[in-house]
Amino acid sequence: MTPVAVNIRKLRYAFDTHGPYALDGISADIRTGGVTGLVGPDGAGKTTLLRLMAGLLLPEEGTLRVFGTDTRKAGAALARTLGYMPQKFGLYEELTVRQNMKLHADLQGLVGDERQKAFARLLSFTALEPFQERLAGRLSGGMKQKLGLACALLRKPRLLLLDEPSVGVDPVSRRELWRMVQELVDETVAVVWSTAYLDEAEKCDDILLLNEGRLLFAGIPSALTDTMSGRCFQLRDMSGNRRRLLNEALKQTGVQDGVVQGRSLRLVLSKDVTADALDAFAARGHLQSVKPRFEDAFIDILGGGPGGESPLAAAMAAVTDTGRTAVMAEGLTKKFGDFTAVRDVSFAIERGEIFGLLGPNGAGKSTTFKMLCGLLHPTVGAGRVAGVDLLKAPGKARSRLGYMAQKFSLYGDLSARQNLDFFAGIYGLAGSRKRRTVDRMISTFNLEPFLAVSARELPLGFKQRLALACAVMHEPAVLFLDEPTSGVDPITRREFWTHINGLVERGMTILVTTHFMDEAEYCDRIALIYRGQLMATAPPDALKEKVKSERLPDPSLEDAFIELIHRWDTSP
């Protein structure tokens, strides 16, 4: 076995003396010679643990040793063995690429020949050579990430700490970074890569799985996924409505988890349940055993998924009055000065459809999204929601749509009840109708115990419920979701999509932006947006089908995405 780089024993840490532990009783070893994934949803304690390893925080209880030295005693010596890339990459945006590197070289005492060599090596390694004089603030997300990495690598650290390096970066750059990090690893170097993306965990040599400050698992990822082997199935080529089928499957005893994957369903059985439990579904399509994923194991540890019923959808009136087409984009174009953010985008979303806008950061998906919910005026073109022209009657159109922004945009200082009252008010509900609606939201989402709690302090799952409640209280015909579940734990995400699936069955139409492949799989159709243009509009399975080749016999949606972008870039 390779040497231990970081040795953690009974580590505890709390941000304030009376508050809960951000990290509670962590014991683990991180070894050199591989990438250790620090995996978990937002708020799991990943950043705190990385800061403790970097010596920026000191443990309250327990010990943390980096290459044998206690971080309490290490002082500046620790910094010399360490490369640390914080979230948002820690760059000075007013400085050029080269000035950023020079600053870090000076701070790390890298001079003379050694410095020139390091610069040459890293500039070619990151392919930033042509951009040396560009301001860091003007770089794309992927390039910023590479520059951040270059600054952390100047001194060839023995311990490289990367805090969510893949957030805000498109899948192409994400893969490139992964390849670069793989190149760095050797017998003397340890890399810690923190992520909320569970699919990244599977690629790591070793993982620490964190949830709410506790270590749920430490070891090689396959050791965890192996516990799930024989329990995961995919139902393909189904007859009938897949969302209703999923609902039925989740009611079946023995099924602990299930998700929609394009035209298929993915079902996971509880422990010690045999495949017979799925006999009833075998007739509905082609049932086959599939390889377990990391996420399946995570949910298993947490005690299974949340089930398939949506009390919210059950209490909603069916939407019937939108006509066949619920949302229409007609030649949408948006220019900001000389820059064309979106060019001639057209599509039509049918009633009761989940439609996804997928694309890398800066591709124009948010701009398209904002034009369709009336937050931006298109330079050319028009948008219609529930048959109402957004340009001609914006107020009327907006009253037919619900909007849920990224990271649950609630008023943090208002209580749950005040948030509900406020949103009911701005959607024009009043009197007994308002009271009935708010009461219904409280009872369907079980918000009763939290009514007096400020939204900021709500547990994540309840925050999400409250945000959804506020967005759908006025029973909109179309619901707009902006990256609704990124960074959220899989159980909370399952629950959210159960509600969405239920609402769609009641005739609501969903438009969702995402760069999260799991979310994209729930969509009926996806519009791939790249460089302001619509690259393709198709169901997820059709996109995968398009790129199927000998090299990629069973492409994932991410594979398809990357391949299609590649083809677009290389076509004349």
Partner: protein, 372 residues
């Protein structure tokens, strides 16, 4: 050796940032210029040419001579009337700040010593101006009666005379005391507001984290922040003093060496305050609020630059003692208007250094190598 290299790198970085970031440029250069010109041209606490009315009810030469003395006074712009009633209406309408009524029997009674009176009415809704009207009117009357006495050769009859001299600022130009105050405010802005903002921005953008994970020590980090803003502060001070002397014709009676000393001591205290704020507040919004409330506003209100400290209630007077700008205003006003009064200047400097030491000690204690 490495330490100096690191500090040099940090200082260079800071200058590049200030020059490339529009919001820093605004605070470092544009805001000071605006303030200086505002106080130089716009704001004046002098009551020149206050509009009043003079009603001469009687006839006779003395009454008209007194009235013309009012007309000729540089302090007043007087409307002359026979009847006080239209003037009263003007005062009510706020078009006149006050009125003087020279009564019917003024000329006749003047020879008799006991009962000659002139009525002065001032608009008390603006107390300052009302005071000016009263005092200036008294001045006009007494200098007129003195001249009258000399003319008649009976000056002994007019009793003791008041010979007033105004020291340090003989023309009573409020600008002469306002500009040194403005310089103090400008330095407080750069020292406290700008510093608090740039450091908290480093927390917000995560760059502080990446700095702290390098071998940079706390002392180097603090020095790397202090030196650039110290230099910027001194440059701003220099620029303001040049403008004050060159454009606004302020006298400068002290020595440059003392100016440098007092200004440096103040900058240390202001920087200490800015750094302390940025350590406690990790986002720019809170830092800006804190810097405005604890730095800018006290420099404005409690430094004695606009409002006289001696006329504040006791608790506020005590509070002003911990406002660094108070000592800078005192020092600058002394240097501009009086000269090198060693006792005042050394006292101001020492107190400022003491405040600076206190603030730095607090900052160092709060900014341990931790991220909480």
């Amino acid at each position: 050796m490495n330490g100096w290299r690191r500090i040099k790198a940090l200082i260079l970085k800071e200058f590049i940032q200030v020059l490339r970031d529009p919001s820093s440029l605004l605070i470092a250069f544009v805001l000071p210029a605006i303030l200086l010109f505002l106080f130089g041209f716009g704001v004046s606490l002098d009551a020149r040419q206050v509009r009043i009315g003079v009603a001469v009810q009687g006839s006779g030469a003395p009454a008209y001579e007194l009235a013309s003395a009012f007309m000729a006074s540089p302090w007043f712009e007087a409307d002359l009337e026979k009847d006080p009633r239209p003037l009263e209406r003007e005062v009510l309408a706020g078009r006149l700040r006050g009125m003087v009524v020279i009564p019917q029997d003024f000329s006749r009674d003047l020879g008799r010593k006991d009962a000659v009176s002139v009525q002065v009415i001032a608009d008390g809704s603006e107390t300052n101006t009302a005071n000016y009207v009263q005092n200036y009117a008294r001045g006009v009357v007494s200098s007129w009666s003195m001249v009258e006495g000399i003319k008649k050769g009976t000056d002994s009859d007019f009793g003791p005379q008041l010979l007033s001299r105004i020291w340090f600022n003989p023309e009573l130009e409020s600008r002469n005391s306002l500009i040194p105050g403005a310089v103090a405010i400008i330095m407080a802005i750069i020292g406290t507001l700008l510093t608090a903002l740039v450091v908290s921005r480093e927390w917000e953008r995560g760059t502080m984290e990446s700095l702290m994970s390098t071998p940079v020590g706390m002392f180097e980090l603090l020095l790397g922040k202090m030196v650039p803003y110290f230099i910027l502060g001194l440059l701003a001070m220099l620029g303001s003093v040049v403008v004050a002397i060159g454009l606004f014709h302020l006298p400068f009676r002290g020595s440059p060496a003392f100016l440098l000393l007092v200004a440096s001591a103040f900058l240390l205290a202001a920087l200490g305050q800015g750094l302390l704020i940025s350590t406690l507040a990790k986002n720019q919004f809170i830092a800006a609020q804190a810097a405005l409330v604890t730095g800018f506003l006290p420099a404005f209100l409690l430094s004695g630059f606009v409002f006289e400290i001696a006329s504040m209630p006791l608790p506020i007077r005590i509070l002003t003692r911990i406002v660094p700008a108070r000592y800078l205003v005192s020092g600058l006003q002394t240097l501009f208007l009086v000269g090198d009064v060693q006792k005042v200047l050394w006292t101001d400097t020492l107190i400022l250094l003491l405040l600076a030491a206190l603030l730095f000690a607090l900052t160092a204690r709060k900014t341990v190598r931790r991220l909480r």
